[in-house]
């Protein structure tokens, strides 16, 4: 029998790292939110959505749980919608996304998370994927509310951020519902 326990442990540590990093980034820059440019915000929005789309594709391939697959499909569709809207907006505004430390860290941790997910199967995979989705959405909502919206200079970019928040909150509620059922 395949032993998933070490990977679950690694996953939990990774998830906590993401949440802690995003939370600390949010707190550190709460009072200096103007430091983030619209180009930085665009890069964060694009990066954060790509990460969840990618994780969703992995879940669609690896999970056998219908609820988890349905959620993963939704993540792919909804985050692609946000991504498309963001790309359309920044293209129209002539904003070229500019990476920040946050994007680099998210990207690095996402790669670790995906590598971990690919080693898991069955219930261990479902739990790891959904637990991460809960932590990820909680952290991203926090960053959007406390960091990105206050820092956005362009009114349309600010409106886009405000309009995607309900979607992310619905995803968080949905992932919490599945998390409860899995446990």
């Amino acid at each position: 029998m395949y032993n998933n326990k070490p990977y679950i442990k690694l996953f939990i540590v990774t998830s906590l790292c993401i949440a802690t990093f995003l939370a600390s980034a949010s707190n550190d820059q709460e009072s200096e939110s103007t430091e983030l440019s619209d180009a930085n915000i665009a890069a964060i929005v694009v990066g954060a959505n790509k990460i969840d789309i990618s994780a969703g594709h992995i879940a669609l391939k690896h999970s056998d749980n219908e609820q988890v697959k349905k959620f993963a499909k939704l993540m792919v569709v909804d985050h692609q919608s946000v991504l498309d809207a963001a790309v359309e907006l920044v293209t129209r505004l002539g904003v070229v996304p500019e990476n920040t430390e946050l994007v680099d860290t998210l990207s690095e941790q996402s790669q670790q998370h995906e590598a971990t997910l690919k080693t898991l199967s069955g219930e261990a995979f479902d739990k790891a994927y959904i637990d991460h989705e809960v932590a990820y959405h909680q952290a991203v909502i926090d960053v959007i509310e406390k960091q990105l919206i206050p820092a956005a200079n362009n009114a349309e970019l600010k409106a886009l951020l405000e309009s995607v928040l309900p979607a992310f909150k619905a995803h968080l509620d949905h992932s919490l519902m599945i998390q409860q059922k899995l446990s």
């Binding site: 939704l74 569709v77 909804d78 919608s81 809207a85 309009s163 309900p166 979607a167 909150k169 619905a170 995803h171 509620d173 949905h174 519902m177």
Partner: protein, 118 residues
């Protein structure tokens, strides 16, 4: 003879007034039972309003104003009632019972149609 004629006239007038009252009452009853159309906006991942009081035969019209797909699913039976609603799409439903519903894509979005309007 004149007395009889007066009596007859009074009876005719009374019957006319009685019929008029009945007709008015029937008209009021028809008006109170006329179906009403209720509009529910799907906005910011919520049904607005999320609870509505209706009567059997009323029409509910949902309009999706979000840039994300939503639909209407019976929470109890999980029957999918509407097609996928993209931004600007509408779905109409004639009420024939109480209905607790949700979005099939985003189950945290919930609404309630209750039969309480006379």
């Amino acid at each position: 003879m004149r007395v009889l004629a007066n009596l007859f006239l009074m009876m005719v007038i009374t019957m006319f007034q009685f019929n008029l009252a009945i007709a008015q009452n029937n008209q009021d009853m028809v008006q109170s039972k006329a179906p009403v159309t209720h509009h529910v906006a799907i906005k910011n991942f919520a049904f607005v309003p999320d609870t509505i009081d209706v009567a059997i035969g009323d029409k509910i019209v949902w309009t999706n104003t979000d840039g994300f797909p939503h639909n209407i699913v019976n929470s109890r039976s999980q029957e999918i009632l509407s097609q996928t609603l993209d931004k600007g799409d509408e779905f109409s439903y004639i009420v024939n019972q109480d209905l607790n519903y949700e979005c099939g894509f985003h189950p945290s979005m919930r609404g309630n149609i209750q039969l309480s309007r006379p």
